[in-house]
């Protein structure tokens, strides 16, 4: 089966000062996503997660440009599409859920119209059938009494409810892929848990594929099949969520997992020294070397290659290059 989404060697750069300064926000990123699958893009702020997603949906800000690589979605190449053609795909086949539901809903339009819009434009639905569709969508995201709620406006709803409306809008065009960019960051814990359940149910019913952008490893553990850990614009480790949680290979993945407080345990946390790099002046060699616990001389000068560490599992680190895997595993144990 061909993958639904295949991103290969994607490079998206930001150009400033008339192109004299280049920020490599996304640097040779590759991943694939099958139908109905969920991938988590994990990393700290400024690591290129969001730019990767904006490249896929073709909504990059004017200063950014895809300079190389390809994005293949359902057999079609997206990087060479004209804006007109992209508009036909966005909202219908690829939808996006953003972090702040208040900013992604228009305060001047009723919930009904905002949820109806994708079906109105993309499927040409009108009248009673459109109304029925909106009602079904709101019910799918578990909004009680949709008839009443769809006459309301965003300000009449709570944060959790608004984010569900955004979810309903994302589903309205009947997409094959939803990109959720930190969708629960502003929500309370119990509301967040309810929302994640709703997303899971929607996925099971419709078979939509999901890209979850998050810095929260707990969400990845709960929601995703596979994950890509990003650092300074690059994917440093990519594989199945279970594998990466069980025996992470890249020191950054190890450090992230070690810095995560676990319920019911008072074990000291691993604090990654320093702070995330500024992509305008990235470190030489491997970008993680200034903060890494295993830095070697070659890390400072040369960027490591990707190494296959298992089936569908790659990591980008010099440690995986020299030593055989078993020796490495015992070294970190």
């Amino acid at each position: 089966m061909a993958a639904l989404l295949r991103v290969s060697d994607l490079q998206t750069h930001y150009f400033s000062f008339g192109g004299t300064r280049v920020v490599k926000a996304v640097d040779r990123v590759s991943f694939t996503l099958d139908e109905g699958e969920t991938i988590g893009l994990v990393g700290e702020s400024g690591c290129g997660k969001t730019t990767t997603c904006l490249s896929v949906v073709g909504l990059l800000p004017p200063a950014a440009r895809i300079v190389a690589g390809s994005i293949e979605f359902a057999g079609e190449e997206l990087t060479t599409k004209r804006p007109r053609e992209l508009r036909r795909i966005r909202g219908r086949q690829i939808a996006m859920i953003l972090q702040d539901p208040m900013a992604s809903l228009n305060p001047l339009f009723s919930i009904y119209w905002q949820v109806a819009e994708p079906a109105y434009h993309h499927q040409g639905m009108r009248g009673r059938s459109l109304r029925q569709r909106v009602r079904d969508l709101l019910r799918a995201v578990r909004i009680a009494s949709p008839e009443v709620r769809m006459r309301e406006y965003p300000h009449q709803m709570s944060g959790g409810m608004r984010q569900r409306v955004v979810g309903a809008i994302a589903m309205a065009g009947g997409p094959k892929l939803i990109i959720a960019d930190e969708p629960t960051t502003n929500l309370d814990v119990t509301i967040q848990a309810q929302y994640l359940e709703v997303l899971k149910d929607i996925q099971q019913e419709s078979g939509v594929a999901l890209i979850f952008v998050t810095h929260n490893l707990g969400i990845v553990a709960k929601m995703c099949d596979k994950m890509a850990v990003m650092y300074a614009g690059k994917i440093v480790e990519h594989g199945a969520v279970r594998d990466l949680f069980r025996s992470p290979k890249h020191p950054y993945t190890q450090a992230l997992l070690g810095s995560m407080p676990k319920l019911g345990s008072k074990e000291p946390l691993y604090a990654i020294p320093g702070h995330p790099p500024n992509l305008a002046q990235p470190p030489s060699g491997c970008a993680f070397h200034p903060r890494c616990a295993h830095t070697m001389p070659q890390c400072v000068t040369r960027d490591p290659d990707y190494h296959q560490v298992g089936p569908n599992w790659t990591a980008k680190c010099w440690l995986l290059d020299k030593q055989p895997l078993e020796e490495y595993a015992s070294a970190i144990a």
Partner: protein, 322 residues
């Protein structure tokens, strides 16, 4: 056994709600904090956890004397703080400090770091210029910064470093209690662990007490010795951190644990059984405030508010089930 450093007793804060501009009409009261009691011991971290609107921040404002309580008392070192005046009041303000959530808005962009950290010292002490500089350098080093950063401005620092500066400012006056209002939730994951370890280390060396306010269960549970769970203005459960993690008793606490994200994909998880959202504090439900969302609600829950009772060593819960 030593005496508690901070003691809250039946603390209440009601905000009036009125409508109309000319003819103001009282609509009622928002009972933001409604009968809260807990104690913080010297050298201890008490975690205060709850969802937005549950009264965590109002409680901290009452402790910081930014609001006056409607009823109830706060005692610090055995003294009722609402009766403090003059020198005594200054001493209280000196010994109780705060660190806010967002270090981008809690540090003045126009002041140098050294002046930011020195400001509480200028107000509360009569140190000479040299002694002041010395103390500033000392606390900056305590929080893991170099003393040379005193010349710089906040914009030259990352979020984590700014939070360290805010902690340094809170420590400068030989503080005994720091109210930490979600101090790590705006920071990057890799920086969070740094700040939490730093806070723990400071507590071990200086013996300062923390009131750690947060909504992320794993974070609060990791740093706190004891945890108070707050729902709609009331403490529903209070227990030792590990005890609470092992044996959450109140249905709301159980719901919070069920809602907490797993730390591993294989982790078995109880299904979340509560629905709906936190009701408005303007018209809180009768009886037990959690009863409309509670999976174990009984007839008496709608009528009679449960009182907090002991259910184990240092473990109290307010629920009719126990």
């Amino acid at each position: 056994m030593p005496a508690p450093l901070l003691e809250l007793e039946n603390l209440q804060k009601y905000f009036p709600v009125s409508t109309g501009t000319l003819l103001r009409r009282k609509l009622g009261w928002v009972k933001a904090v409604d009968g809260v009691d807990f104690a913080v011991w010297p050298g201890e971290t008490l975690g205060l956890i709850g969802e937005s609107g549950c009264g965590k921040t109002t409680t901290s404002k009452l402790i910081l004397l930014q609001e006056t309580p409607t009823a109830g008392t706060i005692r610090f070192g055995g003294e009722n703080i609402s009766a403090l005046q003059g020198q005594e009041l200054m001493r209280y303000r000196r010994e109780v400090q705060v660190v806010f959530q967002d270090p981008y808005s809690s540090l003045s962009p126009r002041m140098r770091v050294g002046d930011i950290v020195a400001e509480p010292l200028e107000i509360h002490t009569d140190l000479s210029r040299e002694a002041l500089h010395e103390r500033v350098a000392e606390v900056l080093e305590l929080v893991g910064l170099q003393s040379e950063v005193a010349r710089l401005f906040p914009h030259e620092f990352s979020g984590g470093q700014r939070q360290r500066i805010a902690i340094a400012r809170a420590l400068a006056t030989h503080t005994r209690l720091i109210v930490l209002d979600e101090p790590v939730s705006s920071l990057d994951v890799s920086i969070r662990a740094q700040i939490m370890n730093q806070l723990e280390h400071l507590q071990q060396t200086l013996g300062v007490s923390y009131l750690f306010i947060g909504h992320d269960l794993a974070t609060v549970a990791h740093i706190s010795h004891r945890i108070a769970v707050m729902y709609l203005g009331q403490i529903v459960e209070l227990a030792d951190s590990l005890e609470l993690c092992a044996k959450p008793l109140h249905p709301y606490t159980q719901a919070l644990f069920a809602a907490a994200l797993p730390s591993h994909p294989d982790q078995r998880h109880e299904k979340l059984r509560i629905t709906g959202e936190v009701p408005s504090a303007l018209n809180p439900p009768s009886g037990c405030r959690f009863h409309p969302r509670c999976p174990h609600a009984m007839p008496q829950c709608a009528v009679e508010a449960p009182v907090r009772k002991d259910v184990g060593p240092r473990h109290t819960v307010a629920c009719h089930l126990y």
